[in-house]
Point group: C2
Chain length 223, copies 2
């Protein structure tokens, strides 16, 4: 088994945090999306969609999309449960995870991909054909604002996103909030509940100091 | 229990097809997104994200996002299995379902929402603040093209999207392909495997004639 990974990319990060929380180790193959390694023929032969993460099983089956990779390991090794136990819990966690993905991750993606010079000509992940769309920076900003408000209201009533325990909904929401920090989105001053939760999640050993590594990677590319 | 539904919207449709396949009936409350009912205070009190479908349980819990609603019923009533059985099957179905969602549904959304006059000022679902972005029509078209190629290659080797049986991956892929037909995306002439599969899925009793109803709704609004 191996994981096609990218240390500076947010979606592989969702898988790395999950695996660390479960105590599962999977050998990783690094694919650097900043230098466009994911768009070269060698990687497109592995995943024609040109995106990471991809989990390759020993029988050759390849699974992409972070949540599908979680699903595999959650079914294989249910504890600690990160995707809910009862039908209602499972649906509730998935509802919040999809909200964080659609409103948080995708808004941050629009905001960053259409703005940072390193993504010129790659305004959409996995393709080399999309020029950046400046209007999407603003739409991404609006989406991030809406997501922060939704998350603030939720975390004002709940320790973690889906309840009293840490779940995959926290993983996606945390990665989305950190993409905002990286993109110098207006900060978390007006969001005390998000700040409290962000501090709690940041202290978990599964969450490495990604912002510092990512900032260094971007600085190296611009210099 | 009740389902906040919208007969002409593609995401509630994913839930309706699923429930019909499972033989589950849930009372529906119609929320018309074409006339903006989803953006009125009454509905925003139910779902601040302003989107349908939403499943409301008898205890008041509200679950939104089609896939989270599937998850609830799949855990409650596992047969017929529409989300895989073994860990590998579950992950494989989810991988294809997320591909169809990210590459198919979201590309079609960009393509339609930023083009049809009825969505002026509502370029993003659930918000009344986003003017249409003409460049996103072209990006959506590129995304739909990539999705059709991925799907054609897959369906050339497999009866249904995730294997020999019908699953939620077919539901999402079918709804995405039908959004393309609705938006007069260049058709399926070059995609014989998609045409074969589209015919097979169209014959299932769970799939009502949505294109005809949706075309009629759009024609009524423009007249």
């Amino acid at each position: 088994m191996k994981l096609y990974d990218c240390l500076i990319a947010p979606n592989p990060r969702r898988v790395r945090i999950y695996l660390a929380e479960k105590g599962i180790e999977v050998p990783a193959v690094e694919v650097n999306i900043l230098t466009g390694e994911n768009l070269k023929p060698e990687f497109l032969a592995i995943n024609p969609r040109g995106v990471v993460p991809v989990l390759e099983l020993d029988n050759g089956t390849r699974i992409d999309e972070a949540a599908a990779i979680w699903r595999y390991f959650e079914a294989l090794q249910p504890e600690p449960a990160l995707m809910g136990r009862t039908p209602e819990e499972q649906a509730w966690v998935e509802s919040w995870e999809r909200r964080a993905d659609q409103d948080g991750m995708l808004s941050a993606r629009d905001f960053l991909r259409n703005q940072f010079p390193v993504f010129a000509g790659r305004g959409h992940p996995g393709r080399a054909t999309d020029r950046q769309i400046p209007d999407l920076v603003e739409r991404g900003r609006t989406g991030m604002q809406c997501f922060h408000e939704l998350l603030e209201n939720r975390l004002a009533q709940s320790t973690f996103v889906a309840g009293e325990g840490f779940t995959v909904a926290d993983i996606t929401a945390f990665c989305a909030v950190e993409l905002g920090i990286l993109g110098e989105f207006p900060g978390l001053e007006g969001y005390p509940a998000i700040r409290r939760w962000h501090g709690v999640v940041s202290d978990r050993p599964s969450v490495e100091d990604w912002i510092a590594n990512m900032s260094a990677a971007l600085a190296a590319l611009s210099s």
